[in-house]
């Protein structure tokens, strides 16, 4: 494959001084990822990033599920932006792809239809008494990591390489739909060949797998997942992707969207339990990582500190391949050293939970 088209889609990503907006899904399902993102930027790269306790959900899930009206979400978003301004920042970075899509969409709407901006300004003031501001730079947090990928590569403790064979790890990258499919120019590499994750993987020594359903949605689809009767449609999308990628024997999947990470991980469990099908080389699941976790591993963070025990599919086979040292016994220990409990054993799991539990119990 000759791929250089991504270079035609470049976006401005601020180098420093970020206002950070968290993701509802990520902080619930991958809380370690947000923590490590802040750590990487702040400690490893020495950048200024502000995690504001005042900010809220962007209400994107509600918006896409038709429960939050457009005017409401515009006001909520305007509040986030004004919080940023109040905190003295002008570079907005959001952890969530849905939020990123919403922010991009609303900024474009205000641009195209100035009357909506006027109304939002009014609504914001009426509701919160705040001043309306727009960020100078908007980036998704994966953009930020992409921006700093070479700096991270320089500080890398490990590479995305199989330590047994010396071969690069095969990585399936999955880009959230709302990252660049709505506004291709706002994503690194555009919508057809987004490069934001591929760039990280390549910089850090891995090999990106190009497979037929690469651009397909994970299936979240908001209403499609939220209504139980529609979930069959939702899971069918992940199913399609997994079927398509499995022949390439990927070592792991990396996503930039919190929803995708969650669904590609947990739907593997669902599919295995419903149909008995697993997609990993070892007969279990394919590990699914967030790009923060991937960066964290590269920079030498402890996998349990990265929150990787929260995954449905066990990451240990991947850790072994990468040569990451970890304490199997500590997997289900919380930050305070207390036992968190352990999940039920499932088809997608390759590691024995029993042993781990017993080891700790001893």
């Amino acid at each position: 494959m000759k791929r250089s088209s991504w270079t035609e889609y470049q976006k401005d990503i601020a180098d420093d001084h970020y206002y950070y907006a968290r993701s509802c899904i990520r902080q619930n399902f991958f809380p370690g990822s947000e923590k490590v993102f802040l750590d990487i930027l702040g400690k490893d790269l020495g950048r200024d990033i502000f995690d504001d306790p005042l900010h809220t959900s962007c209400t994107g899930i509600g918006y896409h599920s038709d429960v939050v009206p457009l005017e409401t979400i515009m006001t909520v978003v305007a509040r986030q932006f004004s919080l940023m301004a109040e905190a003295g920042y002008e570079n907005f970075t959001s952890s969530c792809i849905t939020s990123f899509g919403i922010y991009t969409e609303l900024l474009a709407t205000w641009e195209e239809f100035p009357e909506t901006e006027e109304r939002t300004r009014e609504n914001l003031f009426k509701a919160t008494g705040r001043e309306f501001h727009k960020p100078k730079n908007l980036a998704h947090t994966s953009d930020v990591i992409f921006h700093h990928r070479e700096a991270i590569a320089q500080r890398a403790k490990r590479k995305l390489v199989n330590v047994y064979t010396g071969e690069p790890l095969k990585v399936v990258e999955h880009i959230g739909c709302h990252y660049a499919k709505i506004f291709p120019k706002k994503g690194v590499g555009g919508s057809e060949f987004p490069y934001v994750l591929a760039g990280m993987v390549e910089s850090w020594g891995g090999e990106v797998v190009d497979y037929p359903e690469r651009r397909h949605c994970c299936g979240f689809g908001f209403r499609n997942y939220l209504v139980q009767a529609n979930r069959g449609y939702s899971v069918a999308n992940s199913h399609k992707k997994l079927e398509s990628m499995a022949p390439y024997k990927p070592d792991f999947i990396v996503c930039n969207c919190p929803g995708c990470s969650m669904f590609l991980d947990k739907w593997q469990y669902t599919i295995a339990e419903m149909e008995g099908t697993t997609y990993g080389q070892n007969g279990a699941g394919i590990p699914v990582l967030t790009y923060e976790e991937m960066a964290g591993l590269v920079l030498g963070y402890d996998p349990w500190e990265l929150g990787m025990q929260m995954h449905q599919v066990d990451v240990e086979p991947l850790l072994d391949k990468m040569g990451v040292e970890y304490d199997p016994a500590a997997k289900y220990l919380g930050r305070n050293g207390k036992f968190l409990g352990r999940p039920e054993r499932a088809l997608v799991n390759s590691c024995s939970q029993e042993t781990l539990y017993k080891m700790k119990a001893l």
Binding site: R231, G232, Y233, V235, A236, I271, G276
Partner: protein
């Protein structure tokens, strides 16, 4: 197997690679004129059975040509063989012959 209260939807896409095109090829080689269909829909518009049911001859034979045989025999069985479609087909396709051929290939005779 756990019941989660929903089933995994089967893909709707016509997957030419997975479909077994043997019968489709046999049908086309027996009556190559079927390939001349330009999808105008005259057959379906004039169809006596299509007037009373959702039977759509054009769609069914197109699906059959793509290797989608599921339900095609049953659909073709809605046809009354009245022959109006043959009179209106601008491409002169022997539609009744096609109906019978598809039934012969996909049914049990």
């Amino acid at each position: 197997m756990i019941n989660f209260g929903f089933a995994i939807n089967k893909p709707r896409a016509i997957d030419i690679d997975r479909n077994n095109l043997r019968k489709s090829n046999e049908i086309i080689s027996e009556m190559p004129e079927l390939q001349a269909c330009i999808g105008c829909g005259s057959c379906t518009a004039s169809c006596t059975a299509g007037n009373l049911t959702e039977f759509n001859f054009r769609k069914v034979h197109t699906l059959v040509r793509r290797g989608e045989y599921q339900g095609a025999y049953e659909e073709m069985n809605k046809c009354m063989l009245c022959g109006k479609c043959r009179l209106v087909c601008p491409r002169g396709i022997n539609t009744r012959g096609i109906v019978m051929l598809i039934k012969r290939k996909l049914g049990d005779f």
